[in-house]
Subunit: 219 residues, 2 copies
């Protein structure tokens, strides 16, 4: 098992039994999503902004407009922290403070650089698209040079990371199991509904197989 | 319409057409969730951590262990920024860079203080619980004083905020509508599955009505 090394940055202190540094598990959590929360410092304050990402090995790609305030602040700091979380359920215990949620979350720490080369930029954008929906890029109108020029692409190399996973039932105080209080889990999940074709779609264009596949896998 | 005042902190620069400062809309987005991402600065780095929250008017309540690294860092900073996001769909355009997501997100900025008084602490914890699932607190074993003592409760007064909402279809380049490329939206939503009673539940305890109601409203 390959693990990220522990430092004061990523070491899990609260709920250590839920923590893992396992690279494969962390990649699994990253690959189950495509929206991360990036932390950045603006005017001395830490702000969390949701962003699309793509992962390829130990690299994470972010993109935005060349003027994007957050991406430019991150590039200036040369490092960043990204968090991804999937909510899997409400854990309803017999007492208030034993309530919890089931979830999978990852926090990544790494160094950042701007991707300058056009081919590398395009590959990063394909990676971000693949993270959202597989096999989609090649079905689209090819990118214009001007679009690529206007886009800022940032590469993060993951240097360390940790994940927390809670996927069990209720944990109550031993004496509380005797109470006449209901307890249990309400599973939650993100689902896709049927794809809705654009109203201005040209006639006779069917929903592509890879989009239908996405729907089947997420419905 | 009551609006938050705009400052350099909360003014929306990218995608202004999606932005709003409307207090009622912002509260609606907050009340549709119970997990926020709090930004905090640790070792000079901005880290985003998912946390449960409760809203009551212009107050947001967070809680954790008295030793919680993030809550203590936030209290020391006396201010915080919290972000809540709901993902509502994939927006699949005819070209890569017009891809987007439908979403509702809010970023709050405010001042923080520790809630010291026991009655206020309990009221805040009830608020956090209500945000997760309504009408639940009174069905539980009453809180022990020791549990309350071990819990750190933080109150944020929302000072300013902004929201971004995207809830429309594809926006492509005018000339791209003639292409033989499919475009459309795949709606996404978080759903609840049937409540699963704890394996160690005493016999003859039914799932409470308010839990079944939660399931019916979210299935």
């Amino acid at each position: 098992m390959k693990e990220y090394s522990k430092s004061k940055l990523n070491r899990i202190k609260r709920g250590q039994n839920r923590g893992t540094y396992d690279v494969e598990k962390i990649n699994g959590i990253l690959d189950a999503g495509f929206i991360c929360f990036a932390g950045y410092i603006y005017d001395g304050k830490a702000i969390s902004i949701p962003m699309a990402y793509g992962r390829n090995g130990d690299k994470i790609y972010l993109h935005g407009s060349q003027a994007n305030r957050m991406l430019n602040a991150l590039l200036e700091a040369k490092e960043a922290s990204l968090t991804v979380m999937h909510l899997d359920g409400l854990v309803l215990a017999r007492s208030g403070l034993h309530h919890s949620v089931n979830y999978r979350s990852v926090t990544l720490f790494g160094s950042l650089k701007k991707v300058e080369n056009d081919a590398d930029k395009e590959a990063a954008l394909v990676c971000v698209m693949d993270q959202m929906i597989s096999n989609h890029w090649d079905s689209l109108r090819p990118m214009h040079q001007q679009e690529l020029d206007r886009t800022l692409v940032v590469e993060m190399t993951i240097e360390t990371a940790s994940a927390k996973i809670r996927d069990v039932g209720v944990n109550d105080e031993p004496e509380d199991y005797e109470l006449d209080v209901w307890a249990g889990v309400v599973p939650l999940k993100m689902v896709a509904e049927k794809p809705i074709s654009d109203e201005q779609l040209k006639e006779n264009i069917a929903i592509p197989d890879h989009v239908l596949e996405y729907y089947e896998q997420h419905k």
